[in-house]
Amino acid sequence: MSDQNAGGVDARVDITGVVCPVTFVKTKVALEELEDGQVLELRLSAGEPIQNIPRSLKDEGHKVLSVRLLDDGAYLLTVRKGGLAV
């Protein structure tokens, strides 16, 4: 995988306003819009979403590139679609 998207993101989605399972659905839909290798920036809440969404991303073959704790307590993740595929 090249580094073409390092630093930049191709799409953003904020799931802090929804609850499980809509969190999963919104994330999935956002990723479906992208091509493999593109990067999604995902804003999600502490607690259940941050504990559970990343592992489902991993299960589906997407790679979390970075994690940042925001001042308001939410997290900002960058995720490369299909980034775990060899």
């Binding site: 390092a6 994690v67 704790l69």
Partner: protein
């Protein structure tokens, strides 16, 4: 049958009802699982000899109410043909409950169904000072409420971190529910994203991966194993497989959730080896048989005797 031996019937899983000469028949279920053929047969029996319904107990049991005394033998026979057995009540080892565990549930840290069967084969129906419940739950989510059993078994993941594979993305720090993981002082994700290292080939976990990473970013991670609750979230989430987990069993002793409520005691650390789980179970069962007074739950026995002797015996058994 002129004199009804209620004690014998109860022992054999027939529970007296408000209605004279009717019994609610408790069936044996191991780990919450029944084969379709068994379910069909139970349904037939409920229609033919009961009132056409079954009752599900709080511990994954199935009861068929309204069985007449005179039908008991024929009902047992018809059930036995389909491999359905009647359960037990009274001061004995009861139904071994279990969730579906790692064979089916994505959260599962350990296999549960076969373990429940093994425990059942060893202990089911054994005479005890009082009822004795065993429950197996596949992970920390604890769907099967391990600690409310006299012997509770819960799956856990013991995480191990391989420095060489880590890209210091900070995800494990974020997902850990108890703050057991920390990255070093350098604000982990401030400024440029940490993609540089993570875009290498998928890291392998060969022995060589213990070498120091070759970049200057947060470069150390600390893990406080004392805080860890073995949930495995770090292992499941880490995008670089830098966290590897070993599944093990957390045991609890003397729990009860009836007239008296008490959480089972965690006397020993995570046990990885299944044989040792069984050894520990043997120790607990024997301890209760030897020290429990008639009518006293295991948790009460432990309150009376203190848990130190049991703890020592368990430590010996799992060494």
């Amino acid at each position: 049958m002129s004199e009804i031996d209620y004690a014998a019937l109860k022992k054999g899983g027939f529970m007296r009802q408000v209605q004279k000469d009717k019994f609610s028949m408790r069936l044996k279920v191991i780990g919450g699982q029944l084969q379709a053929e068994q379910v069909f047969r139970i349904a037939e029996v409920a229609k033919k000899y009961g009132r056409g319904y079954i009752h599900l107990t709080s511990r994954q049991g199935v009861e068929v109410p309204f069985i007449s005394v005179g039908d008991i033998e024929v009902v047992k026979k018809e059930l036995a043909e389909a491999g359905v057995k009647v359960s037990v009540c009274g001061p004995r080892v009861r139904t071994v409950t279990a969730c579906q565990g790692s064979a089916v549930c994505p959260s599962g840290a350990v296999e549960t169904t076969a373990l429940a069967e093994e425990l059942d084969a060893r202990y089911f129906g054994k005479q005890m000072p009082h009822k004795f419940k065993i429950g197996v739950t596949g992970c920390r989510n604890n769907c099967l409420k391990a600690e409310e059993n006299d012997l509770g078994i819960k799956g856990g993941i013991f995480p191990e971190w391989k420095a060489g594979a880590c890209t210091f993305c900070g995800l494990c720090v974020a997902v850990c529910p108890v703050g057991a993981i920390a990255l070093d002082a350098v604000a982990p994700n401030a400024g440029a994203p940490n993609v540089l290292a993570s875009d290498k080939e998928k890291p392998s976990l060969e022995k060589s991966s213990f070498e120091k990473p070759s970049f200057e970013k947060p470069s150390s991670l600390s893990f406080d194993s004392g805080k860890c609750v073995y949930c495995g979230k770090c292992v499941r989430s880490c995008p670089s497989s830098a966290w590897q987990g070993r599944g093990g069993y957390l045991l609890s002793f003397g729990g009860m959730f009836g007239n008296e409520i008490k959480e089972g005691l965690r006397l020993i650390p995570l046990v990885f080896d299944r044989e040792k789980v069984l050894k520990a179970a043997d120790v607990a069962v024997r301890f209760y048989q030897e020290h429990g007074k008639a009518g006293e739950r295991f948790g009460r026995t432990l309150m009376r005797t203190g848990a130190d002797d049991l703890k020592r015996a368990l430590e010996e058994a799992i060494r």
